[in-house]
């Protein structure tokens, strides 16, 4: 009797919990799915079913993708975004990793001073205009450097990485030092191989930030030929017609909606593809140091 009552209680509870999980899953997926369906809906297709959430696979039409991927504007924006993402992430890591490693060394004379030096701008930001004036003075306007360098070190990422390095057992690094390795070798051969999760996590965060770079591009890149994908995407989303963004062809073309949805999908795609590969690492990486 007791057992049955308990299991009945459990079953109701599990129905409630899993029902909630499934509704949240649906709420997350529906908007993404709707974008996908809209991007493959053929021009002048008006037998929309289930509020445009269902389109038979035989009707899927990739014209919008073909149009976008064959247009120089779009390809140029993809190239620009790729350059900013790859170059920016490399520079981020080159700046962040050695600095975090040095700060993680508890015997470093002046360590306290350097940590205060990091914390002051972390807690107090001078704001938009003073930074803009620095970029302007360095003559970086309309150069990729302008969107890469001001965010060269993300202080949260720096602190998380420092916390991770501090957790590496000292015996390991000390052993390498006794073997005559200098700090640079210790970092390269001992610390970095042990820090793969944090390096991948932080690398992903930086890369996502660069791929999504929008505001700093608006601010610093006036030259249309330098603009990254998010800027083009916004222009496409705000445009009333697509004459500027696709080769207009009266006979075979895609609807404005489909082109807008396809450009949303293509911009999101790289993130969605890379994400599952790195996901396994980042839960641990994010938790460490973000709240101590």
């Amino acid at each position: 009797m007791m057992n049955k009552a308990k299991s009945f209680d459990d079953i109701t509870f599990q129905i409630l919990v899993n029902g909630m999980l499934i509704s949240i899953l649906v709420a997350v997926l529906i908007p993404m799915w709707k974008v996908l369906v809209e991007s493959v809906t053929p021009l002048n297709y008006n037998q929309v079913q289930a509020y445009g959430l269902w389109l038979p696979f035989s009707k899927w039409d990739f014209e919008a993708y073909k149009q976008l991927l064959s247009h120089p504007f779009f390809l140029r924006a993809v190239t620009n975004s790729s350059i900013i993402t790859v170059g920016g992430t490399i520079i981020n890591m080159l700046l962040t990793v050695p600095f975090a490693y040095a700060l993680s060394n508890r015997t470093l004379p002046g360590r306290k001073f350097f940590i205060i030096m990091v914390m002051v701008p972390f807690l107090f930001n001078a704001g938009l205009i003073p930074t803009y004036l620095v970029v302007q003075k360095l003559d970086l306007i309309d150069k990729y450097w302008a969107v890469i360098l001001p965010g060269g070190i993300n202080i949260t990422n720096l602190l998380v990485m420092k916390a991770f390095f501090e957790g590496i057992p000292e015996e390991l690094t000390e052993a390498a030092r006794l073997d005559g390795a200098n700090e640079f070798h210790v970092l390269m051969r001992v610390v970095m191989p042990l820090s793969k999760p944090i390096l991948l996590t932080i690398g992903l965060f930086y890369a996502v930030g660069h791929w999504n770079e929008f505001f700093s591009a608006i601010l610093y890149l006036n030259d249309a030929s330098l603009q990254p994908l998010p800027v083009l995407l916004r222009n496409i989303l705000l445009a009333a017609n697509m004459n500027e963004y696709v080769e207009y062809d009266a006979f075979s073309s895609a609807s404005v909606q489909a082109i807008k949805a396809a450009s949303v999908f293509l911009t999101a795609l790289p993130m969605v593809i890379i994400y599952p590969f790195i996901q396994q690492y980042f839960t641990k990486g994010t938790l460490l140091g973000s709240i101590k």
């Binding site: 459990d10 509870f13 599990q14 919990v17 899993n18 909630m20 499934i22 949240i24 899953l25 709420a27 997350v28 908007p31 709707k34 509020y51 445009g52 959430l53 080159l94 962040t96 050695p98 600095f99 040095a102 060394n105 015997t107 004379p109 030096m117 972390f122 107090f124 930001n125 001078a126 704001g127 938009l128 205009i129 003073p130 803009y132 620095v134 360095l138 360098l149 602190l159 200098n182 700090e183 640079f184 970092l187 791929w211 999504n212 929008f214 505001f215 998010p230 800027v231 995407l233 909606q257 949303v264 911009t267 999101a268 993130m271 994400y275 994010t286 938790l287 973000s290 709240i291 101590k292």
Partner: protein, 323 residues
């Protein structure tokens, strides 16, 4: 008497300090490779973090681009830009919008994140739970421009999904993105859609850290599932809830600049213009550099005070904080 105690014999002091200096110097030399490795980072901090702080002096000046930052004259009343802003018509609107949007996001987003974390933790179908967790993280990595596209697909009065549903019930479509009545809800719910999954990370970690024998003991004592959540799980994650709330309150003046910058438009300025968006328009579009910097500093100073208080409180109550 007291002086004799305070000032030790001179000769000995210099010997000691010389020794100490020598030791420090040796230690510095021992770590020279580390200092060398810090050089790029140090240059970065000086140029892109401290030079802006120096440039912020234009908040107290009448900045003239041709004269440059240093040569521009100080205002007669140093705080004139600050006073103009505080007395301006915008002030109450900007502060109001900033606080309202921040508090709406916090008060609605947080319970949903906690409930989602509890569901993931309690579900006996671990695969489903992990799948929901994985999928719910994805929107965190999408930019606000992509979100803008998704919102258009969902909300546009022409063929947005939600308006299709509204139309099918025989009602008039609602221009959500352009309606002052609805726009704040768009901002809040799009933020919840994007960030709730990611927000569960902290609560899940706290749940995992609860001693499982507590649940077993409660089950033996006949506690129901809901009682176990109420008396064990929730108290277990309470410190995390307190810390997250305090830190969010500490950054309450950051109401989501990138989001609002991408989503808003002229018809909804009155309900969504926040301090940061105003600073952008004043500074970058209207070239009021000194005024925009002053408002930025004003926000930075209050934000600093709030973060320091929030962090101290968080540390006192739970023993953990931001730094």
């Amino acid at each position: 008497m007291s002086e004799a105690i305070l000032v030790p014999p001179k000769k000995k002091a210099s010997v000691v300090s010389k020794k100490r200096l020598l030791r420090t110097w040796k230690s510095v030399m021992k770590h020279r490779v580390l200092y060398f490795m810090m050089i790029p980072g140090l240059i970065y901090f000086l140029v892109f973090r401290y030079l802006p702080l120096w440039n912020a002096q234009i908040a107290f000046k009448n900045f003239q681009p041709l004269l440059g930052i240093e040569a521009s004259p100080f205002m007669e009343n140093l705080f004139e830009h600050f006073e103009t802003f505080i007395n301006s018509f915008y002030f109450s609107q900007l502060i109001g919008n900033t606080l309202i949007l921040s508090l709406m996001k916090l008060s609605m987003g947080m319970p949903i994140a906690i409930i989602l974390a509890l569901c993931i933790y309690e579900s006996m179908y671990k695969r489903l739970a992990r799948f929901v967790q994985t999928i719910s993280y994805v929107p965190h990595f999408l930019s606000w421009v992509i979100m803008f596209g998704i919102l258009l697909v969902m909300l546009s009065p022409g063929e947005g999904l939600i308006n299709e549903v509204i139309k099918s019930t025989g009602n008039e479509p609602i221009p959500f993105m352009l309606s002052p009545q609805w726009f704040r809800w768009v901002v809040v719910w799009s933020d919840i859609w994007k960030e709730t999954g990611w927000g569960t990370i902290f609560y899940l970690a706290a749940l995992m850290a609860i001693d499982p024998t507590l649940f077993e003991a409660a089950a033996v004592d006949g506690a129901s599932r809901l009682q176990r959540i109420w008396f064990i799980s929730l108290p277990g994650i309470l410190p995390t809830i307190v810390v997250v709330t305090l830190l969010r309150l500490g950054s309450i003046l950051d109401a989501g600049f990138y989001q609002i910058f991408v989503l808003y438009s002229l018809p909804v300025y009155s309900v969504s213009d926040i301090i940061d968006t105003w600073v952008y328009r004043q500074g970058v579009l209207e070239f009021q550099f000194s005024m925009a910097t002053a408002v930025g500093l004003f926000k930075g100073a209050i934000g600093l005070a709030l973060v320091l208080v929030a962090n101290r409180l968080a540390k006192r109550i739970t023993g953990s904080g931001l730094y």
